[in-house]
Amino acid sequence: MGIFEMVGTVARSVFRKPATLMYPVKTAKITPLSRGHVVIDVSRCISCRICQKKCPSQAIWVEPKEKTWQINRLRCNVCNSCVETCPVKCLTMDTHYIPPVTVRPGAELFHITYVKPPKPENTAEKKD
C-alpha cells in the first residue's frame, strides 16, 4: 500500500461519519422486512395451536382451555414460521428487535379475548 493511498484512506475516514452505531443507545438499522419480534392480536386468536406445532424452537405454548398464548422471547429464533402459518393472521412480525436483557425472563403471557361468535340461527325454518 503506497503512502498516497494510505493518506487517501485516512483522509476519507476522518471526514466520513462513523461506520458504526452506538447500539443500543441508537436503534439498529431497520428495514420494512426486518424480523424483530412476534406480535399477537389477542382479539383474533382462535387457539388453534398451529403456531405451537410449526415453531422449530418450541417457543410458543397455547392453552385453549385457559385461553392463554405464551411466548418465550429468548427461545424464539424469529423465523417467521408462525406468522406465515397462522390461519386467521393474528400474528404479525414487528420490525423492532427486543431489547437486550441481563436477567433471563420467563415466558410472556397473553390472555386471548377472542369469543367465538354464536352460530346464526336458521331463520328460514322459523318462517315456516
Binding site: M1, E5, T9, A19, K29, T31, L33, S34, R35, K54, P56, S57, N77, V78, C79, N80, S81, E84, M93
Partner: protein, 359 residues
Amino acid sequence: MSRQIIIPFGPQHPVLPEPIHLDLVLEDEIVVDVIPSIGYVHRGLEKLVERREYTEYVYVAERICGICSFVHGLAYCQGVEGMMKIEVPERALYLRTIWSEYSRLHSHLLTLGLFADVLGFENLFMNAWRLREHILDDMEATTGGRVIQGSCKVGGVRRDISSEKLDQMVSGLNELEKEMKELTEVFLRDSSIKSRLCGVGILPKKEAYEYGAVGPTLRGSGWSIDARKLGYAAFSKLNFEPVVETQGDCYARCAVRAKEMFVSIDLIRQAVQKIPDGSVEVKVTGAPDGEYFTRVEQPRGELVHYLKGNGTKNLVRSRVRTPTFTNIPPLVAMLKGCELADVPVIVHSIDPCIGCAER
C-alpha cells in the same frame, strides 16, 4: 534430534473465533506434528431432523452455520426437492443464486478481515468489515435477516425481490466494487502482508487433492474444481470461471478469496440481467421418500447434504459434510514444518468454521 515439546493451541486462543484444539509438537520453533481435535460446540442438529417436519427443518439447517446460512438452507431444500421431484420456478432459482453469491461476498469479506486481524493489520480488518456491512444491509432489506436469511423454502423462496430493488442492488455493488478493489489491492500488493504470507503453509497440488481439500484451499493449490460448475440453481446459465492460483501457500488462498469476490459480483450482475418473471414458489404436498445427495459450493468449499426420508413428514436421516471438516487434514499437512509464529496465519488461511464442522 532436539527435545520435542507439545504446545496446546486452542480451544480458547486470541486469534481463534471458534474453538478448535491443536496439539502442536515442536522441535525448537518448528512444528513437526499436529494433533487436531474438535468437539467443543457440537449441538446435535442432524438428529433434530427426526423431530421436526421436513418443511420446518429448513430453519434448523440454516442455523448450522452463521456465515453461510443461506447455502445450508439451499442445499437442504435442493435435497428435499430432488427427493420429491419438485420443479422449482425459474425465478426462484435465480433469486437463490443471487442470495448465495451475496453470502459468498459477505463471507469472503469477513474472512479477509479476520485474516488481516490475525496478521496484526487491524485497520484493514475494520475496512473489510465496513464493506461487509453494505452487503449485510442489502441482505436484510431483501430477506429480513442480516445473517440468518430464512428466505429459502422447500419449493422455492419465501420472498421476491422487485426489479427496482434488483437494479438498486447492482448499482450499490458497482459502487462497492471500487472500494473492494482498493481493499484487495492491499491484500495482494502490500509488501508487509506478502512477507507474512508468501511461501508459508505450502500445500502442494498433489497433496491438496489426496487430502481432500475443498474450496479456496483446493483452488489455491492449482485445481480448478468448483461445485458451482455442476450447474445447480441458475449457475448453469451464467458464465464464470473458477479462480485458480498455483502457488499453494497462504498468499494464494488469500488471493483466491480476494479475486472470487469480483466473480461473485459479476455473477450477480448476470443473474439480475437474465432473471425471468413469474412465481417464486410452488405448493408442496406429500412427504419425501427415498434418499438424496446434494453438492453445493459454500464460500468455504464444497458442501454435501445427504437426506433420507421414509414417506412420513419427518426425515429419518440427515448428514452434512461441511468444507471445514474436510479441510482439517490438509491443514495438518500445511502446518508440518512451519514455524510456531506462523500457525495462526495458516489456521486462518483455510477459513475455519468450527460451528459448521461440528453441527
